[in-house]
Symmetry: C2
Subunit: 563 residues, 2 copies
């Protein structure tokens, strides 16, 4: 059965490995939510499956369940009413550890095959997942489909491919023959066994529960570990569906379904600190805020910890050929999902003397005005505005916008509710854009998660680069955008941002945005600044999830004679 | 110049990469100290070069040198009288960090070529190195030549090969083209830059200063980091020579020689704690005792830390076809370098009912007696005994033998001084062998570094396996030996020891020993038990020493048209 899984997905794995090594465009899972691709009834089936989940306890039977908990409320306005298992940590971890017994002895192909099959089945449920992601994170439907479905699956596949490649670097066995004298040699048969690190915990976030969690889940599972999935209390459903699919495929392949367990809690009685420091837990993948992420890094000392946190992303404007094309592109980046992406630009640096354009210098005020105009235009059509902005996941984000409005600087564009035709109760907020001077660093040199943007007036582009790099070094950053017509400026920004561990996007226009990170080509988070200690996905993300342990024994004379 | 280095050593690198992937026998550097290989005058030249170093300050000029220190005393009886630079840590770390400026921008081939050239030049100085290693560690000449020279160089090459492969997994650039509609596509030119983590510190040990340090030094250097080498105060000279060669080649290649710096101290005024926790230090490779190693893991939180510590190694006797062949092999393992290898067996488990042999059961007492006889025979010829035992590096090891003699159990063979014809002042000690019962775990279930061996009488082989695995899980272990004629016993030992992260050697006879670990084939330390958190050498050992940071920019239309 499980060998069949590997064989049936082998070409997809090979394509993924090829894409990783060329970094050219490739995707395994179609991003267009089309009936022609996913089946004519896929859309309505997905909604039905989603609705069937609501207002009921989650059906998974898990060991060590102490209570059923649930408090998900859609940012679009309805309570989901689903309850999920909340664990006794000792029992949960013991069941998770016990589940590894056969899994860790399975060969690389078998484990890889199971992971590939899980991803394939998740793909078939992309419409159901889209609804679950939309109504937990607040993403617009299209984004929820893409980021929550195929793009997350691609990121999961990328991790499986890296894990597979890493495990295949050492053969399962070898014959080692050394000449020890003119006439004598010694031959040893060596066996190399993959030994998983132990129970892995993946801590999900509330905004991208699948996209950010799949790499850790699949990297750990493929390398022989068991996985406990700990969703954010506000975004459980997408990961509950994921766990369900994992358990189904694992059981079909003849392994213990407890290899993947769901561990839920509430904001009032959080279990994450106890879980990530549990002695059985040997791997932690964390996505979320910096404060708790720093705590996990400092305290989960019994585990290897991979974090994806946040930072202060910059956009540096130095020169722009076609302001109309740029302001449209930039406006989309600023508005998408109401700035709730860890890749959204926060600080837009513009020199006080203005910027170079093909029509001569454009003044600081005109550049700032063009950005505001771009945002206003993008949000001028209500249906488009609702789809791009989505809804705001956490009420605290609205509070943060309120606080920022009155904290200082000049409000160039006020942010606030945007009517959503389909969901009148949706919690919405368009971007608040504030102009500040570079000296106002107490305002803008801090992470302001959500639709809060600072336009920072700087002495020069050189100073803009300095401010962006300094923030990245001190506070972390995931992305930086640059618009410049000057190769020297581009080169020095590449130098500064590479050293600061920030992915740089230059002169983007059209349908490609600074906040997008494509599996198999773009690295997400560098691990080289405080925005996280790991990368999705590189060799370091998978290599320390397992160890290779060898045994060696002299080759019997009969075997030796034939080699 | 530096491209030339890469080209001239390219085939050696390719052979190393091939060996790593097949795990078959291969070595780049000849282990036989022969004039035909190393040059007819190599031996005398080596001694001359070594002698010329003695009684003088080390000639390297380094920034931030606060004092010259030195206290090396050969375990064979003479003071070396060399003094070395001891640093002001802030100045040293600043110089180290500054040295990365051009190095990190060099391409992978250039950095790899420099590392390969360094190893090649170190190889040519293997006789000088052998004398330096012998008169700091106390190893016999042959071992000092092999382990301190070619075997260490092989381990360094292995790390360079792993680092090269890891860096080459991502291309330096790619063109990424995505179809965004039926008619439109977007093309981005992406550049991927290797970003080193920062200043790397390698903390050397007193017994294998080069073998255990080269992997960390070369893995860090190849991946763009600068390296501060911190030798044990008792074994500086081998690493001082290494640093000299590194600086010479680096300067020839046009880079800042401060990429590799030597940082020395004394046992009275140690600097290691301050160095490994210095804010500029981002990588630490540590080899040494568990107590300080655990401290480094817990406290060098600003760095990624790789440790190789120690543990309690087991030898499990269950069945033996030819006791004579086994007792000879085992005696050599126990005597080699007076048990001062982290891979030397400490606890020999024998069931109380005796073991199976081809002539029927052999009683516990007869097996223990055969081991003693094997050791006595091996040490009966004075010249051979001196060469195999070498000298004892640290006087504390002699104290430990004294303490063990009177701590409990039955002394089956007393350990003590062995006359050394060439070095009458040598600090020597043959193995002390003590018989205990499995219940005497307070005696034998602790690391007893040096020539101290426990023969443990157990209820059964199953119990022996349990005791060995338990010690590995709790206290760490690097190696386990097993002799058995029963496939089920072999299988269950493989299972238990793999899970405990211990390299297992079964039924060794002849010229291959449980304490030997061959580069390109055997992993040294698993990272899966308290004997260390890292492996020499796997992907995890190199992958997190650097990050890959990308920049992307639309492909100009002219370029796009041609792709």
């Amino acid at each position: 059965m499980s060998d069949g899984f590997f064989e049936s997905h082998r070409s997809r794995l090979e394509d993924a490995l090829n894409a990783i090594s060329t970094r050219e465009y490739w995707s395994a899972f179609p991003e267009v939510p089309s009936g022609r691709i996913y089946g004519e009834t896929a859309k309505t089936d997905g909604i039905e499956s989603f609705k069937a989940r609501l207002g009921a306890p989650w059906p998974i039977e898990q060991p060590g369940t102490a209570a059923m908990v649930g408090q998900e409320c859609s940012p679009y306005g309805m309570d989901l009413g689903v309850t999920y298992p909340s664990p006794d940590l000792d029992q949960l971890c013991a069941a998770s550890a016990a589940a590894m017994r056969d899994w860790k002895r399975a060969d690389v192909q078998t484990r890889t095959g199971v992971c590939l099959e899980i991803l394939d089945r998740l793909n078939r449920r992309s419409f159901e997942m889209a609804n679950a992601v939309m109504h937990t994170t607040g993403q617009g439907f299209m984004m929820a489909f893409q980021a929550g479905g195929p793009h997350a699956q691609d990121r999961g596949l990328e991790a499986v491919a890296y894990a597979y490649a890493e495990m295949m670097r050492t053969p399962a066995s070898a014959i080692w023959t050394k000449q020890v004298s003119k006439t004598d040699s010694i031959s040893l048969a060596k066996d190399y066994r993959i030994v998983p690190r132990g129970v892995a915990v993946t801590v999900g976030c509330s905004t991208f529960p699948t996209w950010n969690s799949y790499p850790g889940i699949f990297a750990s599972l493929a390398t022989g570990n068991s996985v406990v999935v700990k969703p954010h209390p506000g975004a459980v459903l997408p990961l509950a569906i994921t766990v369900e699919v994992c358990r189904e495929v694992i059981a079909e392949a003849g392994f213990d379904p407890n290899l993947v367990l769901l561990a839920c809690d509430t904001t009032d009685a959080p279990i994450t600190a106890g879980l990530v420091t549990h002695p059985e837990v040997r791997i932690v993948d964390y996505t979320g805020g910096n404060e708790f992420g720093d705590w996990v890094e400092a305290n989960a000392r019994q585990a290897v910890v991979f974090t994806e946190k946040a930072g202060v992303n910059a956009m540096i404007l130095d020169g722009i050929a076609d302001m109309r094309a740029v302001s449209g592109n930039l406006a989309f980046s600023l508005c998408l999902y109401s700035g709730q992406m860890c890749t959204t630009p926060q600080n837009i640096y513009i020199p006080e003397a203005g910027i170079e354009t093909s029509d001569g210098t454009m003044s600081f005020d005109d550049v700032a005005g063009a950005i505001i105009k771009g945002v206003d235009w993008l949000l001028s059509e209500p249906a488009r505005a609702s789809e791009i902005l989505g809804a705001v996941q956490n009420p605290a984000t609205i509070d943060r916008v309120e606080a920022a409005r009155s904290a200082g600087g000049t409000v160039l564009r006020d942010g606030g509710p945007v009517d959503n035709e389909h969901f009148p109760e949706a919690r919405t907020c368009s971007p608040l854009i504030i102009q500040v001077d570079e000296g106002d660093d107490r305002l803008y040199q801090q992470e302001c998660f959500g639709p809060i943007i600072y336009i920072v007036r700087t002495r020069s582009t050189a100073r803009s680069i300095e401010l962006a790099a300094d923030a990245a070094h001190r506070l972390g950053a995931l992305t930086c955008g640059l618009y410049s017509l000057n190769d020297d400026v581009i080169d020095s920004t590449v130098d500064a941002m590479s050293d600061a561990g920030v992915a740089l996007s230059c002169n983007l226009t059209g349908q490609i945005y600074v906040n997008q990170s494509a599996a198999f080509s773009d690295f997400h988070v560098s691990g080289a600044n405080p925005a996280g200690n790991a990368t999705l996905c590189d060799g370091a993300f998978v290599a320390s999830r397992f160890r290779t342990v060898a045994s060696r024994i002299p080759v019997p004379a009969s075997v030796e004679a034939t080699t």
